[in-house]
């Protein structure tokens, strides 16, 4: 096999920054290999992707040392448009990379730029649309596609250029589990075609099938090797902000022989070495009463239709949420999670039925009154951050609610302490990292001290370390008596943190109960196109109560 990519002692510093984004990167990649790059937020993964097609140094300027050769061409010497014949790049944000008015034009855009004849463009549209499984969507407007379809279209539109090397920068991060599956299966067929594929991803499960795994930390490539070599280095993974494979953690903690990366491998090893016995899962011991405190949110026959399309987004929702609960709302995109949550703080008003907050319909509240009772943190912190200082940003809601400057100062300090941002008050929020901005957004909602805090995708876009920080913070809030409701795609987050799980499908409740019970019913979850995380699947197989590695270790050792 010949060398396709050669990175020679590459160091790059963005013009605005002092610290190098990439430092002394060395690497050789052979034709047709599948590489997964992992690392914490800000480790330089995206920068690495951009050096492969010339966006660095031609689009992003800065200090560039060393060389990158792709198929023998020195990337820095070519325009990005020229490199597009060899290297295709798919970005994380699929909304921003699609801009045509229908699917076939989106596919045609790249070949049009390369000035290919129209018959050839036609051939490529057909070939690659069916490759990504969108041939039936040819005349659709990209905005009407689901997240997974959009990202597949983005991949197809890059493949239409027939690049030898395909680079995907976190293609699944913003997707729901089904969209993720779709994109990964496309990635699999790209691999089978023999193209070089480089993916940035957070999930060790993706990396398990790679030829090579690269670990990055603070701009350096700290390790590379086969998945079997890299993924067993639990401490190295954690230092790079990656969630170690739970099976491995479990086997290490139990001192069982073997290093399984997947649940199938783990089950095979447990059987082979007869490591533990399967038991009957006892769900009756799980208390079904969710009556912690007085009920705070109640939906009675709640239905909602969007005014423009008359699409029924929610129908017949019956729900009671009590003070002090920690709830995860799960479901595919379009299942109505966000629509439901927006009823909790009155952003949307039911078109049929009632939504009660503390026994009073949301239609009888003003937005201000509800903002004091129910806080809502939107998915993207950048949709709300506007102020010059963190202090001003966090104090915004209090000011809007007419609190005195003294109270504002006190509450802002408290909120910043809760989210772990003490001493940040005078910093400019825009200069913070994504994780920190997310915390600022949470603090700005907490400052009004609402009883209920709703968070839409609180962990998306954060690396493992920041995800843990965020969730631990929410757990503390919950222990202080706040009702916490998260909308999430991340199954392990729901499994480890939520006491109660509500599963939505097509605007109705598919199941609702203690998280362990909801996750025990894998067929019901599959109906909602979801799958429990691998550890819970193992737990279901073993018949244990455990939802986390720690709990399972305790249970298997018989300490419970």
């Amino acid at each position: 096999m010949s060398i396709a990519i050669s990175i020679e002692d590459l160091t790059f510093t963005y013009r605005e920054s002092e610290r190098p984004a990439l430092q002394n990167i060395q690497g050789l990649i052979e034709d047709g290999t599948f590489i997964v790059v992992m690392g914490h937020g800000g480790a330089g993964k995206s920068s690495l992707c951009c050096t492969l097609n010339g966006l660095i140094p031609n689009f992003f300027r800065g200090k560039y040392q060393g060389r990158v050769l792709v198929k023998g061409e020195e990337v820095a010497r070519h325009k990005v448009a020229e490199m597009s014949r060899i290297v295709g790049l798919v970005l994380q944000d699929f909304e921003a990379q699609l801009f045509s008015t229908n699917v076939e034009l989106e596919m045609a855009f790249g070949p049009e730029n390369h000035c290919l004849p129209r018959s050839e463009i036609e051939r490529r549209i057909q070939r690659y649309l069916s490759f990504v499984g969108l041939e039936k969507m040819r005349q659709r407007e990209p905005a009407t596609l689901s997240g997974g379809q959009k990202q597949r279209l983005a991949i197809g539109s890059v493949l239409a250029l027939e690049p030898k090397v395909l680079v995907m920068d976190e293609p699944t991060t913003d997707l729901d589990p089904q969209g993720r599956e779709e994109v990964l299966s496309v990635a699999k067929s790209i691999r089978e075609e023999g193209r070089l594929l480089l993916i940035v991803d957070h999930e060790p499960e993706t990396a398990a099938s790679a030829d090579q795994v690269w670990l990055m930390r603070e701009g350096r490539l700290i390790a590379k090797g086969s998945p079997a070599e890299i993924l067993v280095e639990v401490s190295a993974l954690e230092s790079c902000g990656i969630k170690p494979p739970p099976m491995l953690e479990l086997f290490n903690a139990m001192s069982w022989p073997g290093n399984p990366l997947t649940e199938e491998a783990a089950i095979a090893m447990i059987r082979k070495h007869n490591l533990t016995k399967r038991r009957e899962l006892n769900l009756t011991s799980l208390s079904s009463d969710n009556g912690k405190g007085p009920s705070i949110l109640e939906a009675e026959g709640l239905g909602y239709r969007y005014p423009v399309y008359h699409v029924e987004a929610l129908r017949g929702i019956e729900l009671r949420i009590c003070e002090g609960e920690f709830i995860a709302i799960l479901g595919q995109n379009g299942s109505g999670k966000t629509t439901l949550a927006k009823h909790f703080n009155g952003l949307l008003k039911p078109t049929s039925g009632r939504m009660l907050v503390r026994g009073r319909p949301t239609t009888n509240y003003s937005h201000r009154e509800l903002a004091r009772l129910v806080g809502y943190v939107f998915q993207n912190p950048d949709h709300q951050i506007f102020a010059r200082t963190v202090q001003e940003e966090v104090g915004f809601s209090l000011k809007a609610l007419g609190e005195s400057p003294k109270t504002i100062e006190k509450r802002v300090a408290e909120a910043l302490e809760v989210v772990g941002l003490q001493g940040y008050d005078q910093k400019a929020p825009f200069t913070l990292t994504r994780g920190e901005r997310q915390r600022v957004a949470v603090a700005s909602v907490l400052a009004a001290q609402p009883q209920v805090v709703i968070l839409d995708e609180p962990t998306t876009g954060l690396d493992y370390r920041h995800q843990i920080n965020m969730m631990e913070m929410l757990r503390r809030l919950n222990q202080h008596g706040h009702t916490v409701i998260i909308i999430t795609h991340s199954m392990w987050v729901a499994a480890e943190y939520a006491e109660r799980t509500i599963l939505l499908k097509d605007g109705g409740i598919l199941s609702d109960g203690p998280t362990r019970a909801v996750f025990a019913d894998e067929t019901r979850l599959a109906e909602g196109s979801l799958r429990p995380p691998s550890l819970v699947r193992l737990s279901n197989w073993l018949g244990t109560q455990a939802l986390t590695v720690e709990q399972m270790v305790r249970e298997l050792r018989g300490e419970d």
Binding site: V80, A81, F99, L105, P117, A400
Partner: protein, 264 residues
């Protein structure tokens, strides 16, 4: 929310070459300037509405009904005070309304509404890419044509982000329902700043994606939807030009369709 105006239908207007449609809209603008008598102007408006019906563009007119009605209403109400006519109907101090200025106001309202209507039909029946390709084939430099169509394309995207931003701020207690004009302006900042930052970030990502797909404004490119002038295109243009010619003759040669001489 979808605020795109294009309808993916297959009417005779949809099938016209984008160049025909661009020129056609310009000729219609010219036709609208021929008369200032409300009857004559009304006939033109009616004709345009017939075209709108055959282009199946009426849902867009329904969506923009408030703007259209406001246009007609405001110019019918305001113009009479600024144009001076002979036959006085009503006066109060320096304010005067004459029969001519009253009719002139109605005609101007219809004219503005017809301008908007022609534009609406165009946007309802022409894809963004067709507009770009038409402009390129008419000799407009590609970067300019592309910038124009991208700007049109980004309006719904930014409107969507704007709606989310407003919801996020309302959730934090931003009160958009009350307050005087000054406090309203100060409430604008929490909405505008995130939107600007979103726009900058979004366009930056878009530029990255475009370049990665081989886009470069200087070089030649294939047009997958190659515009083609057919017989029907020439027929449509000849027809519109003919009407324009006749109307100019009616106005300048015969002096018809005028309530206020010396005004457009």
């Amino acid at each position: 929310m979808n605020i795109f105006l294009y309808f993916d239908k297959n009417t005779w207007i949809h099938r016209l070459d984008p160049r025909t449609k661009i020129l056609g809209v310009l000729i219609v603008f010219g036709i609208c300037l021929c008369f200032n008598h409300p009857l004559y102007m009304g006939a033109i408006t009616l004709g345009i509405m017939m075209i709108a019906i055959s282009a199946k563009a009426l849902p867009n007119f329904w969506r923009l009904r408030f703007i259209l009605v406001l246009l007609i209403l405001f110019s019918s109400l305001l113009w009479p005070f600024f144009a001076k006519g002979q036959t006085l109907l009503w006066s109060w101090g320096p304010l005067q309304v004459s029969k001519e200025s009253f009719l002139y106001g109605i005609a101007m309202g219809l004219r503005l509404a017809t301008f908007v209507a022609a534009g609406l039909i165009f946007l309802s029946t022409t894809r963004n890419e067709e507009l770009t390709n038409g402009l390129i084939r008419m000799g407009v430099p590609y970067p300019i044509a592309f910038a124009l169509s991208t700007a049109l394309r980004l309006v719904p995207t930014f409107a969507g982000a704007g709606a989310t931003i407003i919801q996020a701020q309302v959730s934090r207690g931003l009160d958009l329902e009350s307050g005087n004009i000054f406090s309203r302006v100060s409430k604008f900042i929490p909405q505008a700043v995130p939107l600007f930052i979103y726009a900058i970030r979004h366009t930056n990502l878009l530029a990255m994606a475009l370049e990665s797909k081989g886009f470069s404004p200087e070089s030649k490119r294939t047009l997958y939807y190659e515009p083609q002038m057919h017989k029907r295109d020439y027929a449509a243009l000849v027809f519109l030009l003919g009407i324009f010619g006749i109307f100019i003759y009616l106005r300048l040669g015969l002096g018809l369709g005028v309530v206020m001489a010396g005004r457009m």
